[in-house]
Symmetry: C2
Subunit: 155 residues, 2 copies
DNA sequence: CTAAAATAGGACCGCGCTGGTACTATTTAA
DNA sequence: TTAAATAGTACCAGCGCGGTCCTATTTTAG
């Protein structure tokens, strides 16, 4: 399957907590976030630290500390969050820059995988954190001119 | 990362072998495919069996047997191949139908993940096996009306 | 008819990575 | 001064991924 890790998943869920009505105060502790999301506290901590290191959150240490968004949720893309938590998006191993693929010279599909990878990245880059809380506008998740017939998975 | 497994990767590479110029004869054994792709034979066998079970290949047992495509490469989508080898595409665990997610009731992003998942599936469904061997037409890998600015990952 | 060459369908297995925990140091508000 | 928080990092179990192997069956060639 094409699956993202729980880390990435958690990262996005946590980030969206900062824009829920109930958390308008903007500063949330790991403990609060864990209870809001029902995720295990140590994991939440770990993910928050990563998001902070990558500059998507700012932390406030000490008593009554916590985390808050480093910029407006409309200016943070889903792709950024995923990348922050677990590095560059690479659907196949060979698209990871650090990899060396012995099959590369005889691989007929690599170039096109690269383009598909970019397409997916574009989708995730075009969706902001703020977008994730309300029904996504169609144009953000549909293909352009080419699509005419109903995809098979939609019966 | 959003990563597909090697199984899926191999599956696609193997399927495309059936439409290379040199294999116009259409019947390829696991051994031939392994050497063409430089992939380990046992793995190749395993993947071919899966593709056959799912009806994308037809097998010919016995001496001078092998595999061939069950239908025209223009009628087989990339999504079908991936799904055949490793089940339905589900970017998050909760999108897998068999999963039960305790966070579901408090999860603000699930609905939109579902839509993103469909978007990715659409992209992969619109690309045929035959498409994978030549440069993909732009409209298959770009978003529709919404996209105006250059995505951040393209510098 | 027999042997060789294939696929079918499993069982099996190591090892790395994912998901998760724990501990110590540091910062800071009350 | 103490308690509450983050920072950093080490640690760990389990399991799924990637990979192999073995036996049974089918089929063609000689």
């Amino acid at each position: 399957m094409i699956r993202m890790s729980k880390f990435a998943d958690y990262g996005l869920v946590l980030m969206t907590q900062f824009l829920r009505a109930s958390s308008a105060e903007e500063n949330l502790s790991a403990r609060e976030l864990a209870s809001q999301t029902r995720l295990p506290l140590p994991m939440v901590s770990k993910v928050l630290k990563a998001l902070t290191r990558e500059g998507l959150l700012v932390s406030h240490r000490g008593a009554s500390g916590g985390y808050s968004l480093s910029r407006s949720p409309a200016k943070i893309s889903v792709a950024e969050v995923l990348t922050a938590v677990e590095g560059p998006i690479a659907m196949t191993e060979c698209l990871d820059s650090t990899s060396v693929c012995k099959q590369e010279s005889v691989c007929p599909v690599r170039t096109n995988w690269e383009r598909i990878n970019f397409a997916v990245q574009d989708v995730l880059d075009a969706i902001s954190l703020a977008d994730m809380l309300e029904p996504l506008p169609d144009h953000l998740v549909t293909l352009g001119v080419g699509e005419t017939e109903t995809p098979s998975h939609r019966q």
